[in-house]
Symmetry: C2
Subunit: 236 residues, 2 copies
DNA sequence: GCAGAAACTATACGCCGTGAAGTTTAAATA
DNA sequence: TATTTAAACTTCACGGCGTATAGTTTCTGC
């Protein structure tokens, strides 16, 4: 045995957790750029090289952080979705989208870490840094599309999407969860994702502020038009 | 005199141009991260510090580059818009959007430079790095909104946008160009910008590829739904 | 009690931006 | 033309970075 509960293993797990926690703290205060092995080590009273005992390389650490942060985002939007009443799809969809933006505004550096160029020379591993969390978020949006599909289906009669157009890992989550959603519905989900991502990312990166004083109002308008374009009447 | 045509001034202008050109070449081949003063100088057979005679700081150089690249993007989409027949708004809007995406796919590093975290510790100057080019692009999208406004207006009867909601610099370009476009139309333009930016930026940063095999088809669907949501019939 | 592994440090290399000081070169002036 | 001056550029230096190598301490299992 010795694989669990050993003193050494426990210390190791604690140190690993501390490294990640310090890295996230540095990121929150100084942006993704502030995630440097030397800064983390300094904060922990160690040498930078000591970290190599826990992460093979800086990029490995960053990938782990992306996973954790992306998972936190997925948790946030999943929770918002789960807590909104299923009987009111329009409200539920807007709640999801608002949770997405709220999380991004509360964790701008995390958003940059996930969706931007995280850290100077970082190279994501093949298949993406956090494919599971990404698929979770996409599945969340597929839930929006699924909720709206009965109302919106007629708008997509022309489209010729097929299952092979999409990633297998994504479909393995989406198809069992939403057996009635056709390929065109998944495409709709990805488009909605793009719409929301675009507005939020313009805002997070400061490009919206040079155009409008009220990104809030703009996003609210987006939500209104989103449910309208899905063929759902705004709640009320 | 001496302010133009002098030998010294000419050499200076040439060197400045070469610095920018080398920087852009480095960026195209190695990403924005590859824009380092030392690499540029190495390429030019100079010392890194020599560049300080032309740009006060690395961030100044980067800001200049962002301006040039952003201007190139604005030129590309403006040209596409100007060359598309005004009589077919749907086709013209799709042409603009396709030019936007095509430019991004052809210049992914430029897109990252403009819209992402360009370079390790880069801090954009106040007011944004390239406000003029940004406003030009937004004005281009305002043209899309203006072309569609007669068809789409009824969808925005509820909205309460006012002129003060928007940036003065943007409005100083948009309002003279499109005197019939109300504040809600500018909001529509920003939303369209967000939609397109989102899809393109997910694709450029590799987040779409882990979800779908055919970003092309997805974008085409976006264009179809865009003109439909604007109340314009797809051309045919 | 001791072998061995795990955790960690020390040193070093080559990258980076940038400041200070010194040198060459070309233009401006007298 | 001779001298001053300023621009262009180099050299050296500092502190930051990731990380490879080698050495040291400390804990664990036999």
């Amino acid at each position: 045995m010795g694989s669990t509960g050993g003193r050494r293993e426990r210390l190791r797990a604690e140190t690993t957790a501390e490294i990640k926690q310090v890295a996230l703290r540095l990121m929150a205060s100084g942006g993704p750029d502030a995630i440097t092995l030397r800064a983390i080590a300094r904060e922990m009273g160690m040498t930078a090289n000591a970290i190599y005992g826990y992460f093979a390389t800086r990029d490995d650490l960053v990938t782990t952080l992306i996973n954790e942060v992306y998972t936190a985002l997925a948790d946030a939007v999943d929770t918002a979705w789960a807590n909104a009443p299923a009987a009111d799809p329009a409200h539920r969809i807007q709640t999801w989208a608002r949770a997405f933006r709220d999380w991004a505004l509360a964790n701008p550096e995390g958003f940059r870490l996930i969706y931007g160029d995280p850290v100077p020379g970082y190279q994501a591993p093949e298949g993406g840094a956090a494919p599971d969390a990404a698929h979770r978020v996409c599945t969340g949006i597929a839930a929006l599309a699924d909720a709206a599909w009965p109302h919106a289906e007629h708008l997509y009669a022309h489209s010729d999407f097929q299952w092979p157009d999409f990633d297998g890992g994504l479909l393995s989550k989406v198809r069992p969860a939403f057996p009635d959603l056709p390929p065109a519905g998944v495409a709709l989900a990805l488009r909605i994702w793009g719409h929301l991502h675009g507005l939020v990312s313009l805002e997070i990166y400061g490009h919206l502020q040079t155009q409008t004083i009220s990104p809030d109002k703009l996003f609210q308008e987006e939500l209104t038009q989103l449910v309208r374009s899905l063929g759902i009447k705004p709640e009320g």
